[in-house]
């Protein structure tokens, strides 16, 4: 499976990658995006099976990326990994069609719990 990791922080993309590996998902094909626009472009051009996105990014927020994908008919599994977790954000994420919401800091156990049903 192909996973797109969208986060403007290089460090956080590395941590997400490492945590995926620790949670046992290291064999998947990983692609990265460093801002919202790149996330939108790669979610289309790379046809990932899963998008793991930050919320607060330059160019476009994660939820805007998700809304644009859905309005273009793209139903890729999409969720958020973010340090911000307010009820209003969770509601927006859910309304836009997000499959999960992971709050930073996170652990490999949390990744396992969220991604096992999605990645098997």
């Amino acid at each position: 499976m192909k996973i797109l990791i969208a986060d403007d922080s290089r460090v956080m993309r590395q941590i997400v990658t490492r945590t995926l590996r620790q949670a046992g998902f290291g064999e998947h094909d990983l692609v990265e995006a460093a801002d919202g626009q790149e996330a939108l472009d790669k979610a289309t051009s790379e046809s990932p099976d899963l998008v793991i996105s930050d919320w607060n990014m330059p160019e476009m927020t994660g939820v805007e990326v998700l809304r644009k994908l859905r309005s273009a008919g793209n139903e890729v599994k999409f969720g958020f990994v973010t340090s911000e977790c307010t009820p209003e954000m969770q509601q927006q994420a859910e309304a836009a069609g997000a499959a999960f919401f992971i709050v930073k800091p996170f652990t490999a156990e949390r990744f396992d719990e969220v991604f096992t049903p999605i990645l098997g």
């Binding site: 403007d8 290089r10 460090v11 607060n56 340090s83 911000e84 930073k104 800091p105």
Partner: protein, 161 residues
């Protein structure tokens, strides 16, 4: 609602402990030990602003050695492999994580800025229109680390009226 109550130092300590457990000290061998010294020195710092229903700044400050150690832990590399860019990125991410968690405790309707990193002591940045409302000061393997929450004076005045 008084925001000062929401942002108690106990809650801040719990949040920071999560960062240590998840990234900086997963083995539980070198926790952040609180010193309660508000004036401990720093060599580098990072911050995020929160604006909207609550206005203020969250500042992460430490020695360069503690920032290097944090970068090595975040990136799973040796401390001697940490570049200046790694140091900046990790400091920015630390402010972002703590700031995001602080924002989650505040009333709805605020936005979090992208982080700003300054490779100079915390005293190099001034926030003339804000005052410190909560803080956590400690040492990590003997190196100073602090997290401060500054709130806009206009907001503080409103709360106390």
């Amino acid at each position: 609602m008084s925001v000062d109550v929401v942002l108690s130092e106990g809650v801040l300590a719990e949040m920071v402990e999560q960062v240590w457990v998840s990234y900086l000290d997963p083995e539980g061998v070198s926790p952040l030990i609180q010193t309660l010294d508000k004036n401990q020195p720093s060599e580098v710092h990072s911050s995020v602003s929160i604006t909207g229903s609550w206005n203020g700044v969250v500042v992460y400050a430490s020695s360069t050695a503690a920032a290097r150690k944090a970068a090595a832990a975040f990136l799973a590399v040796g401390e001697d492999e940490v570049s200046q860019e790694d140091l900046s990125d990790v400091l920015g991410e630390l402010a972002n994580i703590v700031g995001g968690n602080v924002k989650a405790m505040l009333p709805a309707g605020s936005a979090l800025s992208l982080p700003q990193v300054v490779l100079a002591p915390e005293t190099a940045s001034r926030y003339p229109s804000a005052e410190r409302v909560a803080g956590l000061y400690g040492t990590w393997d003997g190196e100073p680390v602090s997290i401060s929450i500054l709130q806009s004076r206009a907001d503080v005045k409103e709360d106390t009226e």
